[in-house]
């Protein structure tokens, strides 16, 4: 409460009774038009409450005379965007990859749709930007098991890997350890040899026996020099990156009892145009061929 209301000598007006660092304020009346503007805003607010959704009651609310609803607006916006997109996605479905890439605008649409689709469906396993993780191949690195051309990627996405789809990419690595195809010490020496393939040999280790075992058991799929074989999805071993990590223990574990991942056949969830879009996006990540 103001306590020290004084009369100002110059104007004859009262002060407000407040003081800030020695400054006092005159208690001047507010202009009337200012009050009228306040009243006008109140009238406006009443009108607004009648016309627009305003009063909540129990489980519902008063909808207003205009029947305005943000949900309706959103639905209309979404429908408009879908209609706008339909044309582009139709075109993406119909024309070839080469023709899509000739149309920068269509390519931008495809890569955007592909990026969103990738984030919603592929990213949980392959990582953001296709960085990959142990057991889930890196898509950005350019080291492909089944091929990195647009057509090869489209095929993989559509039908999956070991997915049960009749056109799925299928391959199986023998369980050399579990099924006693190789003795544990043989597996150890194969592992020693595999480590030499990508420049991480154990110094002074004799790998002659390992090389022999590799040629007899592994080379038929992985190639003589570990260069891999895309026909059967055999990973390239002579590379610095591997599906199941890079240490010797990882190699031993994989030879003994191989992990074999499964990728779904995405044609069950995505339409052909979206698959083409996500193919273009994956191809653009840096590994495309």
């Amino acid at each position: 409460m103001p306590t020290k209301i004084e009369k100002d000598a110059h104007t004859g007006r009262d002060t407000t009774g407040h003081e800030w660092d020695g400054l006092k304020e005159l208690n001047n009346p507010l202009p009337k038009w200012w009050l009228y503007i306040l009243l006008a805003t109140i009238v406006w607010a009443v009108g607004y409450c009648v016309l627009y959704p305003s009063v909540p009651y129990g489980t519902g609310y008063y909808h207003g005379l205009l029947g305005y609803s943000q949900r309706k607006t959103v639905d209309a916006d979404v429908a408009a965007v879908a209609a706008q997109r339909a044309g582009s996605m139709d075109k993406i479905r119909q024309i070839s990859f080469a023709d899509i890439r000739k149309d920068p605008q269509l390519l931008a649409v495809a890569e955007t749709a592909g990026r969103i689709t990738f984030a919603n469906n592929c990213q949980p396993c392959h990582g953001a930007g296709g960085g990959g993780r142990p057991g889930y191949p890196a898509l950005a690195a350019g080291d492909w098991m089944w091929g990195g051309t647009l057509e090869a990627i489209q095929q993989t996405v559509t039908h999956g890997i070991r997915s049960g789809d009749p056109d799925a990419r299928n391959s199986a690595m023998p369980r050399f350890g579990v099924d006693n195809m190789l003795k544990p010490e043989e597996i150890q020496s194969v592992a020693d040899y595999v480590m030499t393939l990508f420049g991480k040999p154990e110094p002074g280790k004799d790998v002659t026996a390992g090389r022999k075992l590799f040629t007899d058991n592994c080379a038929v799929c992985h190639g003589d020099a570990g260069q891999g074989n895309r026909e059967v999805g055999a990973p390239r071993l002579a590379a610095h990156i591997h599906l199941h990590a890079n240490t010797r223990d990882d190699v031993v574990a994989q030879v003994t009892n191989p992990h074999m991942g499964v990728m779904p056949n995405w044609d069950q969830r995505l339409d052909p145009a979206t698959i083409k879009a996500v193919t273009l996006y994956v191809h653009s990540l840096g590994g495309g061929e």
Binding site: P31, A128, G129, I241, G286
Partner: protein, 488 residues
């Protein structure tokens, strides 16, 4: 606008005095027309400001076929801003910051030197109000005639005059609102479109909006804007000191004010208390009360008083531009010199000069080339089959010139780095040629692969060096190359 009689006003003051009124009626101001040097100068400034405002959008400036030929155009739709031979992008927004700093400091400097001359002469509120008052005077006559008609009963004569006045006000307001739009879209085009009904809805809405604000603020609100709405009168006190030139009533000479002609031996001062300064004031104040919030420093009271002094055979300039310090000195029979250089003006002046120099240099050395580099957030790096590391970047190259330009990109700080552009399929190469169309931003996905030799904590510095192959202009963007931490 409410009108009240003298008796009402008296009652209101009494009620206020007893603290009974929370709200005050507006006291209508009927400024009387004045003639004299100050008024003439004010007309000249008004004509200059209005001409500038209305004519500027119509000035043409040839910039070639693909560019608009309007000298001043703020093309918000295409995000380009044209000022004669200067063309700015939204990225150049800091020039606007600079301009605002200069305007603010300039205002401080002028205020500390000569008071609120901005308010009195060049503020749009003052200029348009003055113009509207001139129209009012033309149709409804001067102060006394207007007051008499307003106080009298309804008549046909009063009605047509009011009608004509508001019609002309609305016409000027509409012209003002229309001219505003022309700063944002091509003036001749939008004029034709406007009258054919083919202009965009924004054009009509904003023309309507600025018509309404001009009409209301200059026709109806007037001095209420300065007194109640504008923040400037509230903090101008901080800019003024006793060395600032302001419109000043020379109390030492005028007091004690006495009505009537002066004779030898009179005890009265020069002020004959005729009230000419009060009736001339567009904000309705008495300048003899001293410097006050409502005073916009326009000086029309000077002209009014000079005229009276001449008739009364007293020296002119009883109300004049002077400093408080000089007034105090004159009251003692001394005289002080006007001090241009004071601590406050030196600070304002240095800030102004600094801002002008910085912005001038920035403008003179303005680059037509802009580069920004965004490192991919995921994956931070990719290990390749051959053991190299690769990082992905998004490059945005702004080509502000009017020619398609080939830029050459290379990376400094990582010997042997190989660049690939994935969207266009350029590279791999140590140097990439990147074409960007005239007046656009080119976006490129760049992959950099190599063996980073100086990784520390998972990253090392690299520089993206971009050069214009035609002009040789170079720009460098400092970025990083990332790899596995703990591998260095």
């Amino acid at each position: 606008m409410s009108r009240i009689s003298k008796a009402d006003r008296q009652l209101q003051l009494q009620q206020e005095e007893r603290g009974e009124h929370l709200y005050a009626n507006r006291v209508r101001v009927y400024p009387k027309s004045v003639h004299g040097p100050v008024r003439r100068f004010k007309w000249a400034v008004l004509i200059f400001c209005l001409s500038l405002y209305y004519v500027l959008p119509w000035l043409r400036w040839h910039r070639g076929v693909t560019e608009p030929d309007q000298a001043v155009l703020l093309d918000v739709f295409h995000e380009r801003f044209y000022f004669f031979n200067l063309k700015l992008w939204p990225q150049d927004i800091y020039y606007l910051t600079g301009l605002l700093i200069m305007a603010a400091v300039g205002l401080f400097l002028v205020s500390s030197l000569a008071g609120r001359v901005w308010c009195g002469y060049t503020c749009p509120q003052t200029v348009w109000t003055d113009l509207f008052m001139w129209v009012e005077r033309l149709i409804e006559g001067d102060r006394n005639e207007r007051m008499k008609r307003d106080a009298g009963p309804f008549s046909l004569d009063a009605a047509w005059r009011k009608l004509a006045k508001h019609a002309i006000w609305l016409g000027i307001a509409f012209w003002t609102g229309g001219a505003w739009i022309m700063y944002y879209v091509d003036a001749p085009t939008v004029t034709v479109e406007f009258w054919h009904g083919t202009a965009s809805i924004e054009v009509y809405v904003f023309t309507g909006l600025f018509t309404a604000t001009t009409y209301l603020l200059a026709g109806w609100a007037r001095e209420q804007v300065c007194t109640y709405m504008c923040p400037w009168p509230r903090f101008q006190a901080a800019m003024l000191d006793e060395q600032s030139l302001t419109v000043t009533y020379q109390g030492w000479r005028g007091e004690p004010r006495l009505r009537g002609r002066r004779h030898d031996g009179d005890s009265g001062g020069d002020c004959i208390d005729c009230g000419a300064c009060v009736t001339a004031c567009p904000t309705g104040i008495d300048i003899r009360d001293g410097i006050q919030l409502e005073c916009i420093n326009c000086g029309l009271c000077i002209d009014a008083c000079n005229h009276v002094m001449e008739v009364a055979h007293r020296p002119k300039w009883l109300i004049t531009w002077d400093t408080l310090a000089d007034q105090a000195a004159k009251a003692r029979g001394e005289h002080t010199k006007f001090r241009f250089f004071r601590v406050r003006t030196i600070i304002y002046l240095s800030a102004l000069v600094l801002a002008v120099v910085v912005m001038g240099v920035a403008l003179a050395t303005r680059s037509e080339l802009g580069l920004s580099v965004l490192h991919d957030r995921a994956p931070l790096f990719v290990r390749l089959a051959d053991g190299d590391l690769r990082n992905g970047y998004t490059l945005k190259i702004a080509n502000k010139s009017d020619k398609q330009t080939l830029f050459e990109l290379n990376v400094d700080g990582m010997p042997g780095a190989v660049l690939t552009e994935t969207d266009e399929g350029l590279g791999p190469a140590v140097r990439l040629g990147l074409p960007v169309n005239a007046d656009t931003v080119g976006t490129f996905r760049i992959m950099v692969a190599g063996q980073p030799a100086k990784l520390k904590g998972g990253s090392q510095a690299v520089d993206f060096v971009l050069s214009n192959t035609t002009t040789g202009e170079r720009t460098v963007y400092h970025s990083v190359f990332m790899g596995p931490a703990g591998n260095e």
